[in-house]
């Protein structure tokens, strides 16, 4: 049994501007101990997907139209909040994008950390001080004793993110979702945080869903890649074959925009992602795709099994060109 299985997930937001379809029927799964990278532009539905898995979408605003999310065989979407809360924080945990706002500004670090024990292992909550110190030290926080006594605003961004990671791994979760964990940090800190995530992954053997728009992060960390665009999965494959020979035109364009290919001018993908309010016919990438054909505007491509993954493009309908390196 897979650790996490998302099937045909569809999320709609009700806003004053109308309905916004943030996630449009996506399916994927995560194995135990696997690092899955999800890439995509802003607005492609990456974060919404992760929040849906954690059950953190504001129930009143977001509407999960259909789909199932199975965690270790249990259906998360039909689970009552109390039961879901027993999983959250202990068996699945999340690291957020903005450590500065994700920590409560008026509560000391120690209390915010030990709260996790208080919720899941009350017996350990009172005596966890030395454990917390040890964990923070493992996460390369030099004066851990000191940090525990501080308030979040007294720490730097990188320190705060380390604290967030500590908070997430306290109970040794099976699944760790990291939603752009390095976006708000400077480049040197980014590398350190990634290193820590890898360390955590090796030590606890948890599965990680790493959400990012930085292909470099994917290359460093992920074993498998999902490319999302406008609420859909356009391509899913092994990380290695993704970088060697991505199949979907969007993936290829993304790879071409990497600064490694800098030649006097940065390449970019023309245009911008269609708004979530638009009703789409045909392929979502149609307007920007350089390999588009007339039929792409009218026919919506289905997911096609292709090599070691799948792709969502009419080009591969016939199964041609699916083999890697081809």
């Amino acid at each position: 049994m897979k650790l996490l299985e998302v099937k045909d997930l569809n999320v709609v937001f009700h806003t004053i501007l109308g309905e916004a379809e943030a996630v449009r029927g996506i399916s994927f799964s995560v194995d135990r101990g696997e690092v899955l990278g999800i890439v995509g532009e802003s607005g492609s539905g990456k974060s919404v997907t992760s929040l849906a898995i954690m059950g953190l979408l504001q129930r009143k605003k977001a509407d999960i139209r259909h789909g199932t999310i199975l965690f270790d065989g249990q259906d998360l979407l039909s689970m009552p909040e109390k039961q879901l809360c027993q999983l959250r924080g202990s068996r699945m945990a999340m690291v957020f994008q903005e450590p500065a706002s994700a920590l409560n500004p008026v509560i000391k670090i120690e209390k915010q950390l030990s709260e996790v024990y208080k919720l899941h292992e009350p017996a350990r909550a009172k005596t966890c001080h030395s454990e917390l110190v040890a964990l923070l030290k493992r996460l390369n926080i030099p004066d851990a004793e000191d940090v525990l006594k501080k308030y979040p605003f007294e720490l730097s961004g990188g320190m705060k993110q380390r604290v967030m990671i500590a908070m997430a791994v306290l109970c040794r979760p099976d699944l760790l979702i990291a939603d752009e964990p390095t976006t708000a940090l400077d480049v040197t800190t980014q590398a350190e945080i990634l290193e820590l995530l890898r360390l955590v992954q090796q030590e606890t053997n948890c599965a990680i869903i790493l959400i990012t728009h930085d292909l470099g992060v994917i290359a460093e960390m992920a074993q498998r890649v999902i490319v999302m665009y406008r609420g859909k999965i356009l391509e899913e494959c092994e990380a290695e074959s993704f970088f060697r020979s991505a199949r979907h035109p969007y993936s290829q364009d993304l790879l071409n925009t990497r600064p490694e290919y800098f030649s006097g001018r940065f390449t970019s993908i023309e245009g911008s992602i269609p708004s979530a309010y638009e009703k789409l016919t045909g392929c979502a990438y149609y307007g920007r795709c350089r390999q588009a054909e007339p039929r792409c505007a009218v026919r919506t491509p289905e997911q096609i099994q292709c090599g070691d993954g799948c792709v969502c493009c009419l080009k591969y309908e016939t199964g041609e060109g699916c083999t890697h390196g081809g």
């Binding site: 909040e81 027993q86 959250r88 924080g89 500004p105 008026v106 509560i107 308030y151 908070m167």
Partner: protein, 327 residues
């Protein structure tokens, strides 16, 4: 922190000094005086009147009068009311009566405002009917004048149902003692306290509601949920304190009202409180009383400012430890 408080206190002393000058000068430069009508008797010799006013120092230039007055105040002598009682006695008696109304009303309204505000905010993102009802209620309450509400209640509970006394602080012509006296006063308090509570709740409630709605969208509420807290628990343990920080100002702004009394409520219910006293003193040009009340109020307002600063520091480590907010 202590250095900061000391600095603040010094500034407040200077402000208080300024207020005293302003109040005194404004009062004294108003046309007319309270003595003329006391001496309207045509049989009194005008020359004698002038001599008396000279003797009392009321014809001195205003700065001399101020210095003399300040000297007396600093010795604890607040002068006498026109009726002859010591001002301080008069004011402190009225103040006691007022506090009897305003303190329960303040506590109750704060409690209701905080609880209803949170409740309303939480239902704003779900069962909207509750939130709409609360919002409509506060709107209605703000729109109804205090005296009208008071009169309606007097009519219903005092006149039609004959459940509660309509006015005053105690039943006249009976002399209860001990517990029966307390009960009698309590019975008289019910209606005015109710009216005051109601009028004070709505404003604070609206502030609390919007502060709480703001908090509900904060990332740390989501983090708390991600740790395994239910939404409700996350709001109570992580949201409440942050929401209270943002209503400290409103809370402290309401504090002087405890002392200044509630003129309308006191008038309608014939409550011998400080609002009534102040109002009557102004009508009678009772300088000593007006100045005393005004000075007490000024001190209370400054004290609540200080209290607000202290509360902020206590509640918010970013202010206590400095610097973090701008990070």
């Amino acid at each position: 922190m202590l250095r900061y408080l000391r600095k603040r206190l010094l500034i407040y002393l200077v402000i208080l000094f300024g207020v005293s000058i302003a109040v005194f000068v404004l009062m004294m430069s108003m046309p007319g005086d309270p003595y003329s009508w006391m001496l309207m008797d045509p049989n009194v010799d005008p020359a004698y009147v002038q001599r008396k006013l000279d003797e009392l120092g009321l014809n001195d230039p205003i700065h001399i009068q101020y210095i003399k007055w300040l000297g007396r105040i600093l010795h604890g002598d607040f002068g006498y009311a026109l009726e002859g009682q010591a001002t301080l006695d008069l004011v402190s008696q009225a103040l006691k009566n007022t506090l009897l109304l305003t303190i329960p009303a303040f506590l109750l309204s704060t409690l209701f405002a905080v609880l209803l505000g949170i409740w309303s905010a939480m239902s704003a993102s779900g069962n909207k009917i509750l939130d709409r009802l609360v919002t409509l209620g506060t709107f209605l309450e703000v729109s109804i004048p205090t005296f009208f509400l008071a009169l309606i209640l007097i009519k219903w509970f005092g006149y039609d149902l004959k459940l509660l006394p309509v006015s005053g602080l105690k039943t006249l012509r009976v002399h209860y003692t001990g517990l029966r006296y307390v009960l009698d006063v309590a019975k008289h308090m019910i209606l005015p306290v109710f009216v005051l509570t109601l009028t004070q709740t709505s404003g604070m409630l609206r502030y609390m509601r919007s502060a709480m709605i703001d908090i509900l969208n904060q990332d740390y509420i989501r983090t708390a949920q991600a740790k395994g807290m239910t939404w409700r628990r996350a709001i109570w343990t992580h949201g409440l304190r942050n929401a209270l920080i943002s209503v400290i100002t409103v809370f402290c702004m309401r504090l002087p009202g405890i002392i200044s009394g509630a003129l309308f409520t006191e008038t309608v219910f014939v409550w011998p409180g400080i609002g009534t006293l102040n109002y009557n003193s102004i009508l009678n040009r009772d300088y000593a009383v007006i100045i005393t009340i005004t000075m007490i109020l000024a001190m209370v307002i400054l004290a609540t400012n200080l209290l607000a600063d202290i509360l902020y520091a206590v509640a918010d480590p970013r202010i206590r430890l400095g610097g973090g907010a701008k990070e």
